[in-house]
């Protein structure tokens, strides 16, 4: 009878006075608590099925020596303890070294890509807040990269980045005369910048869309009041727009971060199976370490490490930003 213990004494006294009356509201209260959970249950179970079961299988695989000899019946693969993890994080050995390098590349890439996506998206959304002719057209145009199928869009970029026949070199080298000889974009060190360009091109419309939606919630009279007090455009952006967008940005940056850090399609379509070292993003690297070399145990261990890292980053991020928000709310 834990409920009785938890019930405040005043209520207990009331119930003693009129037992029949007190029961009815209590039961409906319990039902009210149960209902949302019951309604959520199917979704929760499907979520378990679609996401958690494969994740648990992946985690199981990371503790097994799952090579080509066992993929046909992987429940027979021998357990290997922490061997796969040791290989992945042994930074003195080539596999660990390559993974760490790929991790650093991905970090740098993510910071740049998310930063640029956010900056472009926010700038465009703020400028398109003013009412002018052609605004609807521009808003639609800006969303095109987001609406295109990833594969088709990126393969077009791959053609454009070709050294000898691509339009990028045609413009940069043949027409503008930059550089002594046409640059390579799909191999070598420049591939990092090629990847960044495509990633920002593909990602910023989402930032634009989200910030645009967020802007609609800022009351116009705040700007009018600020204008009356003599605040210029920059001051308005700094003191009204950005603080009001804070909750939107909190989610936006997190989502962009997760998408970019995990992006597989863009580098895979752009570079094929073997990405150049300069653009060796972690998800492609893990694919190479498992699918290409048929060592699914090590690949799973790397994926688990990636999952842990992303969980920690997300947790810390949410903790910091929410705490900061609460502080400003007070």
């Amino acid at each position: 009878m834990t409920e009785t213990v938890l019930t405040p004494p005043s209520e207990r006294a009331a119930r003693k006075a009129a037992p029949g009356e007190a029961r009815a509201p209590r039961r409906s209260g319990r039902r009210r608590i149960a209902l949302p959970y019951l309604l959520l249950l199917p979704a929760l179970l499907l979520e378990l099925l679609v996401h958690l079961v494969p994740m648990l299988m992946g985690i199981t695989m990371s503790f097994r020596e799952l090579t080509q000899f066992y993929i046909r019946n992987w429940s027979e693969a021998p357990w290997s303890g922490l061997d796969n993890f040791t290989v992945a994080i042994d930074f003195d050995a080539p596999v660990g070294q390559a993974l760490f390098k790929s991790f650093l590349t991905t970090c740098l890439f993510t910071v740049l890509s998310v930063g640029l996506c956010w900056l472009l998206g926010t700038a465009a959304a703020v400028f398109l807040q003013e009412n002018f002719r052609g605004r609807g057209f521009l808003r639609t145009l800006f969303l095109v990269p987001y609406a295109l199928p990833v594969y088709a869009a990126v393969i077009t970029w791959a053609f454009m980045f070709q050294r000898d026949n691509g339009i990028i070199n045609h413009v940069l080298h043949d027409q503008l005369g930059i550089g002594d000889s046409p640059a390579f974009w799909l191999i070598g060190d420049n591939s990092f910048w090629a990847l960044l360009v495509v990633s920002v091109w593909k990602g910023w419309p989402f930032a634009f869309l989200t910030v645009m939606a967020g802007l609609q919630n800022i009351p116009r009279d705040m700007y009018e009041a600020a204008a009356l007090d003599g605040a210029g455009v920059w001051k308005q952006i700094r003191h009204i727009t950005l603080p009001s967008l804070r909750p939107v940005n909190q989610v936006l940056v997190l989502v962009l971060f997760l998408w970019t850090f995990n992006d597989f399609n863009t580098p895979f379509v752009l570079f094929g199976k073997a990405a150049p070292e300069a653009a060796d993003l972690i998800s492609l690297h893990i694919y190479q370490s498992s699918f290409q070399t048929w060592n699914f145990g090590t690949g799973s261990a790397m994926s688990v490490l990636l999952l842990l890292f992303l969980l920690v980053v997300t947790g810390v991020y949410l903790l910091l930003t929410t705490r900061g928000r609460k502080a400003t709310d007070v």
Binding site: L49, Q68, Q288, W294
Partner: protein, 438 residues
């Protein structure tokens, strides 16, 4: 309340059923049955100029098979970029085709997964016996000492294709037979935006085929006799360096070739921008690129000196496609019948003619159609101077890691960085460390 409870129970049940279904996809571990004797699913590799071309070539033959046996064959032509992953997925899930084409270099790797039906004496007898096939083609059907994992379907070999117009313009009268001659010829052609020889620097498999042959010429194999990776021997380093040096040191290959992976070198060849390519059965592609048959010539791929032959005079890998039966097939008798049909003399002639390849079946090879000059070069190469890639389980990892190393070296060469014996050795060292420990 009751309704909610019912809904909840329903949801839980549904989820559990789905979970069970999802987990139940694993392989049964059995080795074929005859549950579905009326149908077969066939994954064909992309042999013609396009998937559509392949469908046009294969469908009439499959109809013929249906008329003979009453078995309907569902055809899917799988592009090369997807084929190996599709096979791996089929292996893991146990849900695959009944019959499939595999690149013959994958034979030992796929054999080790246990996904393919072993061709023991009984199965081979069902298709007319092992002796019907050419010896060299049988050398690429699985690890030595084990029952083959597949049977040869199409055979191909590397040869030197040269652009007759560009040779004439440069005053060259005959195709080079040795590497020294090839470099001299290439230097004559390489000027004014034209280049001597094309490579596909970002195509990992092609890189492997080329450095494997050069390795043979330097007396090096990439695996030791007991199957351990051996990428850093002097011969292997020299072979890789010699190949990359076509661009880095000799400068008879255009730097842009470093990023080629989609047969762009053949387009360059057809556009009179590149004088030579080392390729397997390129004739169909040249035709698709708009070249007439008399605009290109074909000669044996170069050797260090003298005539092509065995050992250090090797000038091609044994290239080709094998036909395999998926162990989990539900129509094993039908699958054997289909393999027998595809390796019959008539089908071998029809299909190999359509694809410009050589039949690995001895009797079909006698057909005069395979004696025209272009095909004769390929046939003689296969018979006398081609070697099979290492038949070890790790072959497909070898293609990835060493192929990537060569790709990175080409990228260095294209960027104007020096390619030295040390830098080649370092890349190969890194590749070897990525191989699974034995």
């Amino acid at each position: 309340m009751r309704r909610i409870r019912v809904a909840a129970v329903g949801a839980v049940t549904l989820s559990l059923v789905l979970t069970a279904a999802a987990c139940g996809g694993g392989s049964t571990g059995g080795s074929g049955s005859n549950e579905q004797p009326r149908t077969l699913t066939y994954w064909a590799s992309n042999q013609g100029a396009s998937i559509e071309v392949d469908k046009k070539v294969l469908q009439p033959e499959l109809d013929k098979f249906e008329k003979q046996t009453g078995i309907k064959v569902k055809l899917e032509v799988v592009p090369w970029a997807d084929l190996l992953n599709r096979i791996l997925t089929a292996t893991t899930s146990g849900q695959g085709p009944d019959i499939l084409n595999i690149g013959n270099t994958w034979s030992a790797s796929l054999q080790s997964t246990g996904a393919l039906l072993p061709w023991d004496a009984k199965n081979l007898e069902a298709i007319g016996g092992k002796d019907r096939f050419v010896e060299s083609a049988l050398g690429s059907t699985g690890a030595p000492g084990q029952d083959p994992a597949a049977v040869p379907l199409y055979s191909m070999a590397y040869a030197l294709y040269y652009n007759k117009k560009m040779f004439k313009d440069a005053g060259i009268t005959k195709p080079p037979a040795t590497w020294d001659e090839l470099i001299a010829t290439g230097k004559k052609i390489s000027k004014d935006g034209k280049w001597g020889i094309g490579v596909e620097g970002s195509n990992l498999s092609n890189n492997i085929h080329q450095v494997f042959v050069l390795g043979k010429q330097h007396g090096a194999d990439f695996f030791t006799a007991d199957g351990k990776a051996d990428f850093t021997s002097d011969g292997a380093v020299a072979a890789v360096k010699q190949y990359v040096d076509l661009m880095a040191a000799q400068k008879i290959t255009g730097p842009g070739n470093a990023e080629y992976a989609q047969n762009q070198s053949l387009s360059d060849f057809a556009k009179n921008k590149t004088g030579m390519v080392l390729w397997q059965t390129a004739s169909a592609t040249f035709k698709a690129q708009g070249m007439k048959d008399d605009e290109w010539g074909v000669a044996p791929a170069p050797v260090p000196s003298g005539q092509p032959g065995a050992g250090r005079q090797t000038n091609s890998m044994v290239a080709g496609i094998n036909l395999a039966v998926f162990k989990n097939t539900k129509n094993i008798d039908g699958a054997l019948k289909f393999v027998k049909f595809m390796t019959s003399d008539d089908e071998q002639k029809t299909l190999n003619k359509a694809y410009g390849s050589i039949p690995p079946v001895k009797t079909a090879q006698q057909d005069p159609a395979f004696s025209d000059p272009a095909l004769a070069v390929l046939r003689d190469t296969l018979a006398t101077s081609a070697a099979a890639l290492p038949q070890v389980p790790e072959e497909s990892q070898f293609e990835t890691v060493v192929g990537t190393a060569v790709k990175e070296l080409f990228a260095d060469a294209a960027a104007g960085r020096a390619v030295t014996t040390e830098s080649v050795r370092a890349k190969l060292e890194k590749a070897q460390q990525q191989m699974p420990k034995k």
